[in-house]
């Protein structure tokens, strides 16, 4: 069982990129003293986006590609409390038009997850968890000029509840988190959203993330498969006007369906492989992304 412990948080982070700054949303823990290292690559592309609620393409962008490379780890402080950290590097590029893409380090993230409650009855297990997270911009990247910008450029503090029901090899899980965001800064001291602002600071709307998943482990404990639904709802923010550019404080919403697998090819080595994919089925002020992620994990004990 211990092999599976980084899968869900890794996927959640990789899929969410900066857009929701999601914190780990699974129900699995490293044992005390155990660490899991991971390296993930995410390839996110879209050629249609929602301008407000209007679905459109933009031939001056063509296909927007956002690549993310993220090293991360999860560490068991106790059997019921884990610390998770990640530091993504992001590159954006458009296939058409003259706008130059950008690349660089995005937001450093740190999460603490704790199992708050466990109820067992026969082969059924019901657990309740809470995760507190913080992401902080880790470079001076420009938050302006969405969708080219690496991220939103703001501090994001989140608190999430997770509930999981497990029966034999099957489980169902749901989570929801609230994100409090600090202001972001752009490099101009005047901008118009739905009114003038005479400052280079942008008041970022808070956000709600949510998700559910249905998963299964094989009896040998070497393969795990999961179907996911997740999303983001920005609480406030404004719509991109017709033919206007994106802005960090837009009302960014999405709903995404996905699937993923994690596989431990060689028993006992601590080495794992992750693949997943997701597709945005509904959105607002965001691209309709197809997101593919692959990565490797390696876990071992650093103390007992």
């Amino acid at each position: 069982m211990k092999y599976f412990k980084l899968w869900a948080p890794a996927i959640a982070l990789a899929l969410s990129l900066n857009l929701s700054a999601q914190t780990p949303s699974d129900a699995i823990y490293m044992d005390k003293g155990q660490i899991c290292l991971a390296a993930l690559y995410t390839h996110d592309t879209w050629d249609e986006y929602w301008e407000g609620t209007l679905k459109r393409n933009n031939e001056n962008i063509g296909t927007l590609t956002r690549q993310t490379v993220m090293p991360m780890f999860a560490l068991g402080i106790t059997d019921r409390i884990n610390v998770i950290a990640g530091l993504p590097w992001v590159r954006t590029k458009a296939s058409a038009g003259q706008m130059a893409g950008v690349s660089g380090i995005q937001d450093a993230g740190l999460w603490v997850k704790a199992k708050a409650f466990e109820f067992k009855s026969g082969e059924s297990v019901l657990t309740l968890h809470a995760t507190a997270g913080l992401t902080v911009p880790a470079s001076n990247y420009l938050a302006d000029y969405m969708p080219f910008s690496l991220g939103l450029g703001c501090v994001d503090a989140s608190l999430r509840a997770i509930v999981q029901y497990q029966w034999k090899g099957w489980y169902a899980r749901a989570h929801s988190g609230y994100h409090v965001r600090g202001n972001t800064t752009i490099e101009r001291d005047y901008y118009y959203t739905t009114q003038d602002y005479y400052t280079d600071e942008v008041d970022m709307p808070n956000a709600l993330d949510y998700g559910a998943s249905l998963g299964w482990w094989n009896p040998k404990g070497t393969l795990k498969a999961e179907l996911t639904m997740d999303g983001l709802k920005t609480l406030g923010g404004f719509d991109i006007r017709r033919q206007d550019a994106g802005f960090p404080s837009n009302k960014m919403n999405f709903t995404r369906l996905g699937a993923g697998m994690q596989y431990y090819p060689i028993s006992g080595t601590g080495l794992g492989i992750i693949v997943s994919g997701g597709y945005v089925v509904a959105g607002r002020n965001m691209g309709q992304s197809l997101v593919l992620t692959g990565g490797v994990t390696y876990q071992f004990h650093i103390w007992h």
Partner: protein
């Protein structure tokens, strides 16, 4: 802990904080200054006011006392909002509307582009598209009309010398500093009337919004105990009459022909191709069939008698050593862009969805005016000469842009990418540079102690376009030169208007 930290965050500033102040000077002879369009300050007459001992005036004083008693908090807020420098307030409103309407039309599904229609402003794309030529012209008409209205108001103020209500009746407590100006006609009512009329013509969909603002502005004078109703009525009628003069000029200044049909646009490009061997092309997909305002260069200027007289010489031919040098500089900058260069490019971007470079300079002018406690007449004069210079600079720049029809770096340098969006008009000369140098020239004349700052801003605005990858250095350098040249025409007019 983080939650507690954010719970005390402050609201971000959405408007200037302007404390009401005592005017630094009254310019008692301002009624004799030379206006822009009016023959003189006395040309538009207003009725002589009732004597302050008359029953009619005393009744107005009673009404004023009633209006100023028991004010709501929103009425008191309006007094403060309008009571600092009402011209700067209206300038702020004009800038906000420019930003709101500065959106380029989206393509139709069939790859064609719709255009705003002044006759049907609420149909997409909304009228106007407040791009830099549109916005500079809007601000020029607004501020030149305000200047003439203030000269006329000053003339009649000192002609009739009606005292302020609190000077007649000591029991009237005002909420604003006493100005020392004769009260009839009310300068505020004239400012509100000009703003309402000119800005409604420029932004027809905002007429209700602007009317409500103008009403609040005028009423704030009653609430503050500063003017009686007849002061306001006279100022309002004066302002409307002046605005009508300026709107009549606007109707025939050539702007309605500036955005040409495609055959005219194509012939302009062909003329440059025949003359120079090059022409600019819009590289958007689908291609925009016509650049922005190809005939804005033919619009009637304010202070430059003949715009071709200030047309700069030709740019270096693509492929020439001078061109190669500046093209290589651009590539080098884009390959090694520093954080500071990126910051400068973004700070001055003033692109779509913003108040444009003319708006940026109006903001600088506002700050300079507020720092000196200028009276409304001098405030209007500053805005007028600066914005006439900016519009003349725009006309001159557009004349050069479409005469030379020079390709943007992204067109002339294979594979060249930029960090800013590429404007829909030719490269040479840089609009930012020309607008900014013209504005800086006028502001430096009016505020000579800050000349170095204005010049530095203009230089940085010009440089920012090179960092953004959308202009060659020669676009910027020549734009600055032309801007100074054009700005000086306004300075010469200003020097002769009697205010100095």
């Amino acid at each position: 802990m983080a939650l507690a930290f954010w719970s005390c965050e402050k609201d971000l500033p959405t408007e200037a904080v302007i404390e009401p102040y005592t005017f630094a000077g009254l310019d008692e002879n301002g009624g004799n200054w030379a206006p822009i369009l009016l023959a003189n300050g006395s040309e538009i007459g207003i009725p002589a006011p009732a004597d302050v001992t008359s029953a009619a005036y005393l009744a107005e004083l009673e009404d004023l006392k009633n209006a100023a008693s028991g004010l709501s908090s929103s009425q008191k807020a309006a007094v403060q909002y309008w009571g600092g420098n009402a011209l700067v307030r209206w300038n702020e409103i004009a800038r906000e509307l420019a930003a709101k309407y500065n959106l380029i039309p989206a393509p139709n599904p069939d790859g064609t582009y719709p255009a705003p229609d002044a006759a049907n402003p609420s149909q997409y794309p909304l009228f106007p598209f407040a791009n830099p030529p549109y916005t500079c012209r809007m601000l020029a008409y607004w501020s030149a009309a305000q200047f003439d209205a203030m000269i006329a108001a000053w003339y009649h103020k000192y002609q009739f010398n009606r005292p302020a209500p609190h000077e007649v009746d000591g029991s009237i407590k005002t909420l604003l500093p006493h100005s020392g100006l004769p009260a009839y006609p009310s300068e505020d009512a004239a400012i509100a009337a000009v703003s309402q009329a000119v800005l409604s013509a420029m932004f027809p969909l905002e007429k209700d919004f602007l009317t409500a603002k103008a009403e609040e502005h005028k009423n704030s004078r009653l609430w503050a105990g500063m003017n009686v109703e007849s002061d306001l009525v006279a100022g309002d009628s004066l302002g409307r009459a002046v605005a009508a003069r300026f709107l009549a000029r606007a109707a025939t200044d050539g702007m309605k022909n500036a955005q040409t049909p495609k055959p005219v646009s194509d012939s302009i490009a062909q003329a440059a191709q025949d003359r120079f061997g090059w022409h600019w092309e819009n590289l958007e997909i689908p291609q925009r069939p016509v650049g922005l305002a190809p005939l804005f260069g033919k619009v009637k200027p304010w202070c430059v008698p003949n715009i071709v007289d200030v047309r700069p010489g030709p740019p270096p031919a693509p492929g020439s050593p001078e061109f190669q040098r500046d093209a290589e500089e651009l590539q080098d900058i884009q390959d090694n862009l520093t954080t500071e260069q990126r910051h400068i490019a973004n700070f001055w971007s003033d692109g779509l969805g913003t108040y444009t470079p003319p708006g940026h300079w109006n903001r600088f002018a506002s700050d300079a005016l507020l720092a000196r406690n200028y009276n409304p007449l001098r405030t209007a004069r500053t805005f007028a000469y600066m914005n006439m210079a900016i519009m003349d600079a725009g006309i001159s720049c557009w004349d050069a842009k479409y005469y030379y029809h020079y390709p943007r770096p992204s067109q002339a340098i294979p594979g060249f990418q930029t960090i800013l969006g590429i404007p829909n008009f030719p490269s040479y000369t840089s609009g930012h540079s020309t607008f900014s140098a013209a504005a800086a020239t006028v502001l430096a004349h009016i505020f000579p102690e800050d000349k170095a700052q204005f010049d530095a801003w203009a230089e940085e605005a010009a440089e920012s376009r090179i960092y953004g990858g959308i202009h060659y250095r020669f676009d910027a350098t020549v734009g600055i030169e032309t801007g100074h040249l054009v700005g000086n025409y306004s300075v010469v007019v200003a020097q002769a208007d009697g205010a100095e």
